[in-house]
């Protein structure tokens, strides 16, 4: 039997098929990304605990009322862009020298030995909780405390030197809104907080590691290298973002 030539496949309709797929993807997808501020909601606790007094100097209250007027630390502010300056001032005023006469949170300078002592104490606490069978909530709490001190220990090692400046553990940023405050203002407050924290950490990152905070962060997201994790942890310890969102009363 004679060998036959295989006829060529007609590829003329390939373009049509590709166009069809292209148009499908054009219609069902979108270019804009979902961008958001991620926040944690505190866990609900059933046990009534004593209310701990927080010194006024450790609180940075950002209040917004139903008429969308702003107040930061008791001062009425017309321009919301000023909030980030206030936050930077809040963190940096006493960072080098503690001045007890002003109204800003104080700093401690824990040494390696102090941190290790605290870590040991936390471990002991966990042991005693486990012996007493104190319940999951308390044991979780003890674990989180150990994690915290461990993170601090690693951070100090990375920071170098004998001690590092640590803001008062009670220092927090508090967002107090009312029920009719517009979401745009609430989002603006979140933006300002994020900007301030970014700037503080960025300056510190450039000083210690010689690269910007944003670079470290994006690299960690894509590569997840433990070195970058350590760097981010250190920056988090130096400038912790403790944000409290107060539920508005009706």
């Amino acid at each position: 039997m004679a060998k036959r030539d295989i006829p060529e496949i007609n590829a003329g309709s390939m373009a049509d098929i590709a166009f069809l797929l292209l148009i499908f993807f054009l219609v069902t997808t979108t270019m804009d990304k979902d961008q958001a501020y991620i926040r944690n909601i505190p866990k609900k606790v059933e046990i009534k605990t004593e209310i701990i007094e927080v010194e006024q100097r450790n609180v940075l209250a950002i209040k917004a009322n139903n008429q969308n007027q702003l107040m930061v630390r008791g001062e009425i502010i017309a321009d919301p862009d000023k909030i980030s300056e206030k936050i930077i001032e809040f963190y940096n005023t006493n960072r080098n020298v503690n001045d007890l006469t002003n109204d800003f949170p104080t700093y401690t300078h824990p040494t390696k030995n102090e941190i290790e002592a605290n870590l040991k104490a936390a471990e002991k606490e966990l042991e005693s909780f486990e012996e007493q069978d104190a319940g999951d909530a308390l044991i979780d709490y003890a674990y989180s405390k150990i994690d915290e001190w461990d993170k601090m220990k690693r951070s100090l090692k990375l920071f170098g030197g004998n001690d590092f400046p640590l803001i008062n553990s009670q220092a927090n940023i508090r967002i107090e809104v009312q029920t009719r405050t517009q979401y745009s203002l609430f989002a603006k407050i979140q933006t300002e907080i994020e900007e301030a924290i970014f700037e503080l950490r960025d300056t510190e990152a450039k000083r210690i590691f010689g690269e910007s905070y944003g670079v470290i962060k994006t690299r960690y997201i894509s590569d997840e290298e433990p070195i970058d994790k350590g760097k981010l942890d250190l920056l988090d310890v130096l400038y912790p973002a403790r944000i409290i969102e107060v539920t508005p009363k009706n």
Binding site: Y183, E194, T247
Partner: protein, 170 residues
């Protein structure tokens, strides 16, 4: 003797289109890579506020670890007064009005639980880590957002994301 050839009945050769599929495929691949699939078109009008220094949710979305809820003005403006403070909540494209009905802020807890049950087998994080993204309109009252927050707290959905439109300058 003429310098120009006369049209001697020959036809113009057709344009070679054999590389057209290649071009179109290139475009197709560009769009497949550069875009993300659209969430459902919300049944409420949401005009997001802008912000900077946001977190990109795409990695979470790719792992489908995220639940979206929309808070905005209802499309049908005649029903504006049916809703609490004039803003409607859209959960999976269902909008309902009165507070005892399904899919108001009261239903957020149940909705979140159902959503988690549905994806439990695929998602590795516990419910506390599954992000709930609130896409709210510029004018939405924060009171409603805190209502949602409270419902989420009740079911241990402890990670919330406040969506904004990033205005770009990094």
């Amino acid at each position: 003797m003429s310098k120009f050839k006369k049209d001697n009945g020959k036809k113009l050769p057709g344009v070679n289109t054999s590389s057209l599929p290649d071009i179109v495929f290139m475009l197709l691949f560009f769009f497949m890579v550069a875009t993300t699939s659209k969430e459902v078109d919300p049944t409420v009008d949401v005009d997001q506020p802008t912000g900077t220094k946001t977190t990109d949710l795409t990695p979470y979305k790719q792992r489908s670890e995220i639940d979206f809820l929309y808070l905005g003005e209802p499309r049908n403006k005649a029903r504006l007064n049916d809703f609490k403070m004039g803003y409607a909540l859209s959960l999976d494209n269902v909008v309902q009005a009165t507070s005892d009905e399904l899919y108001t802020t009261n239903a957020v807890g149940q909705w979140k639980k159902d959503k988690f049950e549905e994806k439990k087998s695929r998602v590795k994080v516990p419910i506390t880590g599954v992000i709930t993204c609130v896409k709210a309109d510029k004018g939405a009252p924060t009171g409603l957002i805190f209502d949602i927050r409270k419902e989420l707290q009740n079911v241990d959905g402890l990670t919330i994301a406040y969506a904004v439109r990033d205005n770009g300058n990094i």
